[in-house]
């Protein structure tokens, strides 16, 4: 461009040469030169000592008709003229705004000044040169930026594909090519988005047909911003974002987020594990506290019961003895001679005394049965937690309770029904405690059923049914009697400590409350009651198989 310019300037101005100097700091460097006059330097310091230099310093055109005659004015310039052989010289500064960026100079070897037209022409060329130099500079800068951008583009972690307004691939970076393993030829052919998509789909990139269909639909409107994640066939997870660009095209950005996903997954798993561990720890702690509480309560009750039992034994023993002694006393009295009135009085007194002793015996026995009950509910310790066969435990409890009841009341009888699930298997538990619960519920059932029998008479057959059922992670045990049932207004209170419906002396009111604590608090299970007044009462116990799989708490807590 500058060469053409100097050539034209030289020719049109009838000069012997034309040269263009570009400013570089304090120097002028030869940028282009046309014509037979030699220039024996490539670079020269800017000063007023030579014509071109002065045009730059003074920011104006300098026209010297005969340089040889101006040796004092242009010492360096006249020296140059002597060396190179020129006489007439005209230099125009190249002005970009207020700044001089170079100089255009034309010369002749004879003394023949340039005409006004020629001067105007050179000045025009100078203006063009400014534009050309500026353009060249801008182009250079642009190329530099472009190269920088390209380097950045290629080296960014994400894969980028730019599509033009017709949805054809316009640009892509190395990462995209590597990440999706795209052949050079495919990219070079500038495929459209759907062509690229079809190529990837054919290669099995999308795995699921659903995802493929969904992505296929998203091809239709590329003006939409879009973001999705998918797992590639090699297991890597990519995040794909599509952003429209203002000129009508769009950019696809592929980011490999496998590591991030894994990290997120690991954090989530760790958090879940920690939460589970904490929950299990809390549950275990609660159970432990509960077990200790029960054990302590047991020891306490046992201690008190024994302390009461000893003096109570004396009360009972002495009172029954005294009944015998009264009988003997009356026997002896018969052999004594007294008047009838006195005899009647003594006899009446003795009768009253015997009745009183009878009451002491009766109430003593009542107190004794309460103490026995307390001892039954508070056998020391809970034993150890271990897997126990649930059906065997139910069977054993039924037998124990039945024979216990027969021993207490010789006339006792009840129909026992068993519906035991053969797959019930074992449950992790404190077997001694659970047996206590079963015994309690079965004894209650016996009591309720026989009581109804006493009221209803011969037509009624007292029945108790024990059912077990395998629920997978839990086991269900049902104890059902056909007694009088529980009135709705009492149903809420039955698990409260010291609540009892039995007549004074027949119950402590602790049985169901302890059952509840054992099942719910100690074993993490639940105990519910289903009842219909005048028909039946059924206790439903659900026990989790293991301590670490607690049920949703139910019943009362």
């Amino acid at each position: 461009m500058l060469d053409t310019l100097t050539e034209s300037a030289c020719r049109l101005c009838e000069a012997y040469d034309a040269a263009l100097f570009v400013r570089e700091g304090d120097f002028l460097r030869l940028g282009a030169h046309h014509g037979p006059i030699p220039i024996d330097f490539n670079k020269s310091e800017i000063s007023r000592q030579w014509v071109t230099g002065r045009s730059v310093v003074d920011c104006r055109s300098i026209h010297v008709h005969d340089l040889r005659a101006e040796a004092s004015e242009f010492p360096i310039g006249s020296d140059m003229a002597r060396r190179m052989g020129h006489r007439t010289i005209f230099a125009v500064p190249l002005m970009r705004k207020q700044e001089v960026i170079g100089s255009l100079v034309v010369r002749r070897t004879e003394v023949r000044p340039f005409t006004k037209q020629q001067i105007a022409l050179v000045e025009t060329f100078a203006d063009q040169a400014v534009i050309a130099i500026e353009n060249a500079r801008l182009l250079g800068e642009l190329r530099e930026r472009q190269a920088e951008l390209r380097t950045t583009f290629d080296n960014m972690g994400d894969g980028v594909a730019m599509f033009d307004a017709t949805a054809r691939l316009a640009a892509w970076n190395r990462n995209l090519q590597e990440m999706l393993d795209l052949p050079e030829a495919l990219l070079a052919a500038r495929p459209s988005l759907s062509e690229l998509f079809r190529y990837l789909a054919a290669r099995g990139e999308f795995g699921s047909a659903d995802l493929e269909a969904q992505l296929g639909r998203s091809l239709e409107d590329t003006r939409q911003e879009m973001r999705y994640e998918r797992t590639r066939p090699d297991g890597r997870v990519v995040e794909v974002r599509r952003n429209p660009v203002p000129d009508g095209g769009f950019v696809l950005i592929y980011a490999d987020i496998t590591e991030r996903k894994h990290a997120e997954e690991a954090i989530r798993a760790a958090r879940d594990a920690a939460e589970t561990a904490l929950r299990e720890l809390q549950t275990a702690q609660d159970r432990l506290v509960q077990t200790q509480k029960l054990a302590l309560l047991g020891q306490l009750t046992a201690g008190i019961a024994h302390e009461i039992k000893n003096p109570l034994n004396f009360v009972n023993n002495f009172s029954s003895l005294s009944v015998e002694l009264i009988d003997e006393l009356q026997e002896d009295l018969r052999r004594v001679r007294v008047d009838d009135k006195t005899r009647t009085e003594i006899s009446e007194l003795a009768d009253t005394l015997r009745d009183n002793l009878g009451k002491i015996v009766q109430h003593g026995k009542r107190a004794d049965s309460i103490v026995k009950n307390m001892l039954l509910h508070s056998r020391h310790g809970s034993g150890e937690r271990r897997p126990a066969d649930i059906n065997a435990l139910v069977e054993e409890s039924l037998n124990l309770a039945y024979h216990g009841a027969r021993a207490e009341k010789p006339g006792f009888n009840i129909t026992l029904e068993r519906d035991l699930d053969p797959t019930a298997a074992t449950v992790e538990m404190y077997p001694q405690e659970v047996t206590r619960v079963f015994l309690n519920l079965i004894s209650n059932g016996f009591y309720a059923a026989t009581k109804r029998k006493a009221a209803a008479g011969d037509g009624f057959e007292p029945t108790l049914r024990a059912t077990t059922r395998n629920l997978g992670g839990a086991i269900e045990i049902r104890i059902r009697d056909n007694g009088a049932g529980i009135p709705p207004e009492l149903k809420e209170s039955i698990f409260n400590p010291f609540f009892t419906t039995k007549p004074a002396g027949e119950g402590t009111g602790l049985g169901l409350s302890i059952c509840h604590d054992i099942i719910v608090k100690q074993h993490g299970g639940r105990i519910d009651v289903a009842t219909e007044p005048g028909a039946f009462t059924e206790f439903i116990i659900t026990l989790p198989r293991t301590a670490t799989a607690p049920l949703q708490t139910g019943g009362k807590s």
């Binding site: 039992k309 000893n310 034994n313 004396f314 009972n316 023993n317 002495f318 003895l321």
Partner: protein, 129 residues
């Protein structure tokens, strides 16, 4: 020749209870009853009554000082000819096992079943006769 039954219990009212219960036997002179309020006193008596007239020892377990179970092996080695029946409020299997292991003939629980006790005494009396 009169025979003795030694009853060991820290409760003083036990004497009254036993004497009233067996009043007819005592009156009829079938046997005599001696009462010791502690294991130490009981051991002394068992050794003092050196002859064969001591036919049975009935002993409580829970007593201050030496317990009935501690006394048991000592009295058994001093008087191997005299059977010992333990009487306790704690009728659990563990206590029973310990008592029998240490040489007790039987273990009865409180409240005392006097019918069963009378049978035991009758059996001793028959053997002694």
């Amino acid at each position: 020749m009169s025979v003795y039954i030694l009853v060991v219990d820290d409760e003083p009212d036990v004497e009254a209870l036993f004497r009233q219960h067996f009043r007819r036997d005592l009156r009829a002179g079938r046997f005599l009853m001696e009462f010791a309020p502690s294991a130490h006193v009981a051991l002394q008596r068992a050794i003092e009554i050196r002859d064969a007239t001591l036919i049975l020892i009935l002993s409580d377990i829970n007593m201050p000082g030496m317990s009935g179970l501690e006394m048991l092996p000592i009295v058994r080695s001093a008087r191997p000819d005299v059977p010992v029946i333990m009487i306790t409020a704690y009728g659990d299997a563990e206590t029973k096992r310990k008592a029998l292991e240490n040489g007790a003939t039987n273990l009865l629980t409180k409240p005392i079943d006097f019918v069963a006790l009378r049978q035991e005494i009758d059996a001793r009396l028959e053997q002694a006769a």
